[in-house]
């Protein structure tokens, strides 16, 4: 756990230091944001982590945002509790409406991987991982300071069913991301 925290801190601070690059519209091709993501599954865990968002005026005039995120109950409900330790790795593509404005509604498609650690060989017989496919819709707001707030509600298309899939992969989730504009 300590290793994860230290590595994450080093990674994030080194990425943030890239801000030294000037975000010149003619030079650097796009905007990269990075920050924290807080996520709650409806009637289940807080799974928190990190998110990145990238858009370029060269790619559909910044209408499409590409993202990557990692959320885990290890940084949420499982901290100091018996909640199951589970990890979500996602990459995404989102369509942003009103892309030139500060307040942008978006619709996003996410794909990725889910893994739960049941911690005992007794439960090796149960499915504990799955590919993730989800959609979420929400709002992104770009402040004048280099911070962006993103709020959305989403739906996992392959939640567990008791006969297939991990039991703690629930369908409905809500997320909030606070992103810093790196460049």
């Amino acid at each position: 756990m300590k290793k994860i925290v230290v590595l994450t801190f080093l990674f994030v601070s080194s990425v943030l230091s890239l801000h030294a690059q000037a975000s010149d519209a003619n030079g650097w091709p796009g905007t990269l944001k990075g920050g924290f993501r807080i996520q709650k599954a409806q009637k289940l865990y807080w799974e928190n982590g990190f998110a990145f968002d990238y858009a370029s005026p060269k790619i559909l005039d910044s209408r499409i945002h590409f993202g990557a995120s990692y959320e885990t109950s290890r940084l949420g409900s499982a901290l100091g509790s018996n909640a199951i330790k589970q990890d979500n790795y996602l990459v995404s593509a989102a369509y942003h409406f009103r892309h030139q404005k500060a307040l942008q509604p978006f619709a996003r498609l996410n794909v990725g991987y889910f893994h739960a650690d049941y911690e005992d060989a007794l439960f090796d017989v149960l499915p504990n991982s799955a590919f993730l496919t989800s959609i979420d819709v929400g709002l992104m707001y770009e402040f004048k300071i280099p911070l962006t707030l993103s709020l959305s509600a989403g739906y996992n298309l392959n939640a567990g069913t008791g006969v297939a899939g991990p039991g703690t992969l629930f369908p409905v989730f809500y997320q909030m991301s606070i992103l810093y504009t790196i460049f």
């Binding site: 409806q42 199951i84 007794l122 439960f123 149960l126 069913t161 297939a164």
Partner: protein
């Protein structure tokens, strides 16, 4: 144009909210003719009612308080009762949950605390009569009900707990949205076999699904925080690995959250089965030899533990 659609959808919602199910009184438990038999003859189902003044031998005989799950009746533990009676040296008290085995209207207004109450009543009655070896066997929803009693310190003297397919996480994840969609649905209709009809409610009011969600959410959080069994109480879980009602991960949550009084782990057996409540086969279609083997294994194992 917009107001017309708004009006129509509101009307639809309102209609759904006020709908009552079409209950067949002749065939359905939900009606006013079929009731759980323990309501007519408690002495045939409850040990506290059957034996007015137990002698010393009876008081030391293992008693199992057998409790059914959501929407079911004492029928769910009838086969175990038959098994136990054939053995002749254990007593079984089949408890009917509050609001269950009666009518749709009574079910609809019941809370999970109402469901739970008869378990505590029978436990206290057996203690008052001097039984020294009181145990518990529960299926599905009975398990979070009794875990809550234990967490709150209301039940401290149970020797053995046996959970069959306990539910802490529902297999049907749409239950998580019951607060939102429930009022629009009113109720859901189940598909009982003809032999099951009369032993399970046919219709499930959304209010009771809400209660179910509240109960399992509470149970999950209590396990998350962690608690211990009282000294002298042991637990064994029998969980089918594919269960359309109680997600098998429920066993993981109980294993992680509830330990013996000394902090050691409880016993869990994950069983190759696709049934919910593997100990009840009566009334099902397509029962296989494997299902029968599983049932007998659980009964034998449970009995063996009681007689240790």
């Amino acid at each position: 144009m917009n107001t017309k659609y708004l009006f129509l959808s509101l009307l639809l919602v309102l209609t759904a909210c006020t709908q009552s199910p079409d209950i067949n009184n002749v065939t359905m438990l939900d009606g006013d003719q079929i009731f759980d038999p323990s309501l007519y003859h408690p002495e045939r189902y409850l040990v506290s009612a059957a034996i007015a003044n137990p002698n010393t031998v009876q008081k030391n005989t293992p008693v199992v308080i057998a409790v059914h799950g959501y929407s079911a009746t004492t029928f769910e533990w009838d086969e175990f009762r038959t098994f136990a009676d054939a053995k002749g040296d254990i007593l079984v008290s089949q408890v009917l949950l509050g609001g269950h085995g009666r009518t749709y209207a009574e079910f609809k207004k019941s809370t999970w605390e109402d469901w739970q109450e008869p378990i505590l009543t029978e436990y206290n009655a057996l203690r008052a009569k001097g039984y020294t070896n009181i145990n518990f066997a529960g299926s599905s929803t009975a398990c979070p009900l009794v875990m809550d009693l234990i967490k709150k310190g209301k039940v401290v003297g149970l020797k053995h707990l046996f959970f069959v397919d306990p539910i802490v996480v529902s297999s049907d994840k749409m239950l998580t949205l019951i607060g939102l969609v429930g009022p629009m649905m009113g109720y859901i209709e189940t598909t009982n076999t003809p032999a099951e009809e009369g032993h399970w409610y046919h219709f499930r009011p959304q209010e009771t699904l809400n209660q179910m969600m509240k109960l399992i959410d509470l149970s999950r959080k209590e396990l998350q925080a962690g608690f211990k069994l009282p000294v002298g109480t042991q637990l064994k879980i029998y969980k089918s690995i594919k269960d359309p009602s109680a997600d098998p991960v429920s066993a993981v949550l109980i294993y992680k959250g509830l330990t013996n009084s000394d902090g050691s782990k409880i016993a869990v057996e994950m069983i190759d089965s696709e049934l919910h409540v593997m100990t009840r086969l009566s009334g099902r279609d397509n029962v296989t030899q494997h299902d029968r083997d599983n049932q007998m294994h659980i009964f034998d194992d449970l009995y063996g533990i009681l007689k240790e």
